[in-house]
């Protein structure tokens, strides 16, 4: 009887935090709203139309790369190579398109060929990651860590550490131009995010992705093609990183071998803050959108409030740590 009471007490203790943490979407959305509102008095210009547009322009490429990462996290994996895919595809595209030294510099085919090269390279690296994990049975952490090192090195070697300038104006416009007041970047992001949302929530492949994340062995016994599904997740991540590279490179008008080198924490952090589980089987694109918005808001508000770089790093690190803690608590509650 005594033991039963103790157990009941423990369950009751867990019940309150569980109810508070069970809904990642409301937590992430609430955090964004609270942070935004609480920042208004201390952050001059935060609510100006220029700044709101600036916040959205800053979050779009990050949302794309975090979308790919979310798909991988749902399968229980991790893609540490996403930022090196961005760097490599940025210089590959630039090497094709640049008016100074590009293979097709000045040609009408430069932009489509450059973008195609970037997307194909992203997909191939994703496939390579997926194949190493599923066919060779290697852990995702070590596979993507080593491909991150390899492809970052390759990007630097290809360019001898130099940035590549003089990209076609039509390409740069993708990063910062607009069509009838709607930025191209927004159109590209919306298209990709909706496609990813449909993949996860409305397709059989989406259900397979979640099943692999929950329990790969059980999924395999149930007839899910686990190898194919995991490879698909890494290919999606590679393609998303390449699309993000298109936007970042266009915005900077420069192919850079160190593009996104310091972005990995933001990418994984945004997905985790949004509620994607580091243990797999949980995550939604809408949740990740809130995670990305929250990290972008932290950058923007602390920057406008004149806070130091070190403060920003500590706040972001703390928030991501709390999100990871929530993830652990959710898992314990399951």
């Amino acid at each position: 009887m005594k033991a039963f009471s103790k157990q009941t007490l423990n369950i009751n203790r867990l019940a309150a935090p569980q109810s508070a943490i069970r809904n990642p979407q409301s937590i992430a959305a609430g955090l964004c709203l609270l942070w935004f509102l609480a920042s208004i008095p201390f952050t001059p210009g935060l609510t100006s139309s220029n700044n709101i547009s600036n916040i959205f322009s800053n979050l779009l490429p990050l949302l794309i790369v975090a979308t790919g990462q979310t798909i991988v996290l749902i399968t229980g994996g991790i893609d540490l190579s996403a930022t090196s895919v961005m760097a490599l595809t940025s210089v590959m595209g630039a090497l094709v398109m640049s008016g100074d030294q590009g293979l097709l510099g000045g040609s009408a085919w430069a932009v489509p060929a450059g973008i195609a090269a970037m997307l194909v390279a992203g997909a191939l690296i994703g496939w390579l990651n997926g194949a190493a994990i599923t066919r060779l049975g290697m852990p995702p952490f070590i596979v993507t860590l080593t491909t991150m090192m390899f492809f970052s090195g390759l990007a630097i070697w290809l360019t001898k550490s130099k940035t590549i300038y003089n990209l076609p104006p039509a390409f740069n416009a993708i990063g910062k131009g607009s069509l009838f007041f709607i930025p191209y970047a927004l159109l590209v992001t919306a298209l990709l995010v909706v496609a990813a949302h449909v993949l996860l929530s409305r397709s059989l492949a989406g259900r397979w992705l979640y099943a692999c994340g929950h329990n790969a062995r059980a999924a395999e016994i149930s007839g899910v093609p686990v190898g194919w599904t995991l490879t698909l997740a890494y290919v999606c991540s590679g393609v998303c990183a390449a699309v993000a590279a298109v936007l970042y490179t266009g915005r900077l008008e420069t192919g850079s071998p160190v593009l996104g080198q310091r972005l990995l924490l933001d990418v994984i952090g945004a997905a985790v803050i949004g509620g994607a589980s580091l243990f797999g089987g949980r995550g939604k694109i809408v949740w990740t959108m809130y995670g990305v918005l929250f990290l972008t808001l932290i950058d923007n508000t602390l920057n406008l409030a004149g806070q130091s770089h070190f403060t920003m790093m500590m706040v972001k690190g703390g928030v991501i740590l709390l999100a990871a803690l929530l993830d652990v608590l959710r898992r314990r509650g399951q």
């Binding site: 208004i40 600036n54 900077l252 008008e253 004149g306 130091s308 770089h309």
Partner: protein, 326 residues
């Protein structure tokens, strides 16, 4: 949850109303964006700008891009959205800064580049830069004169920076121009491309000393590489004071605290010093002049100076590394 949101909303409205009431006393604000604060030189520059702005009662918004050009672009866009009166930026590189200059131009906000100029562009900015070739040439010429006085032959090692950085190119050119006049006594046997990376500097110096154990003349394009050089020299048993047998003639560029200490301890022969105080004052003044509609030259040069064993006491007051050390 709903009660929380309503509470925060009400609180925010009250606070923002009180802030708006004070907004009539708008203080001039300048956004300062540094690519990195990883070396002493950048920290000293950042602090010098901060104190210069404080002296003039100008508010400062700071942003450090942590080596990421995209982050720097976002931070500069944040400054523009905030409606700052001017921007001082240390670019990640000469090319990626161009879209940021264009954005500042479009918003009619003056932008001044500190220590690194932009590549050729139609976009309008002012750059405050050290006379890299001139200061390096003067420093290396002093070293060459010392070499000549000794009556010995010298094998030289040059540590270059990132050759995508115009400052690194200027320093390399200054070195080459100086040693050209002393080709009878100085032979350059190794040129190490460090890409402003201490690990590469250590590996490159170690390799060069193994391939050419008789190297006795070293110039580094930045003082922050001295710890790597000292480590390699110690491993080779060649780290000796001036006047000791086997001393390697050494020179550097920047004027940091390590170089000052090496000069004081008698290990370093000469150092080209960038005048951080001149550069920060010139950068702030340029923003104010541009804001006032005055014409400012596209490039403001810091003439710098050479500090060496002969003028150490006299010039150390002007050397920023000596002030940091205090």
């Amino acid at each position: 949850m709903k009660r929380w949101i309503v509470l925060v909303l009400l609180l925010s409205l009250c606070l923002s109303l009180s802030c708006n009431q004070n907004s009539g006393l708008k203080q001039m604000t300048i956004g300062v964006s540094f690519e990195t604060l990883q070396t002493e030189y950048w920290v000293a520059g950042f602090e010098a700008i901060k104190s210069e702005l404080k002296k003039r009662d100008i508010a400062m918004l700071e942003a450090i891009a942590d080596g990421d050009a995209n982050r720097q672009l976002e931070q500069v866009n944040n400054f523009i959205a905030r409606g700052v009166d001017g921007i001082i930026a240390v670019p990640k590189d000469a090319k990626t800064i161009i879209p940021m200059i264009k954005a500042a131009n479009a918003a009619n906000i003056p932008i001044v580049l500190y220590n690194r100029p932009a590549d050729k562009t139609d976009a309008k900015s002012v750059a405050v830069v050290a006379d890299n070739p001139g200061i390096t040439k003067a420093t290396v010429e002093y070293m060459c004169e010392q070499a000549k006085k000794s009556g010995k032959k010298y094998k030289a090692l040059l540590l270059m920076g990132d050759l995508g950085d115009i400052n690194a190119i200027g320093r390399r050119d200054g070195f080459e121009a100086a040693v050209k006049g002393y080709s009878d006594i100085i032979e350059v046997v190794a040129r190490v491309p460090t890409e402003w990376n201490q690990e590469k500097a250590l590996a490159g110096t170690t390799n060069a000393l193994q391939a050419h154990p008789d190297i006795n003349f070293i110039f580094t394009s930045s003082d922050f590489l001295f710890p790597s050089i000292i480590s390699a020299l110690k491993n080779a048993g060649k780290y000796k004071k001036i006047g000791e047998d086997g001393h390697v003639l050494m020179g550097g560029f920047d004027g940091d605290a390590t170089a000052y200490q090496m000069l004081k301890d008698g290990y370093l022969d000469a150092d080209g010093v960038q005048n951080v105080y001149f550069e920060s004052e010139a950068a702030v003044q340029a923003v104010l002049d541009l804001k006032a509609g005055k014409t400012v030259t596209d490039v403001i040069r810091d003439p710098g100076f050479v500090i060496h064993q002969g003028n150490l006491n006299e010039m150390s007051a002007k050397m920023w590394g000596a002030q940091v050390k205090k």
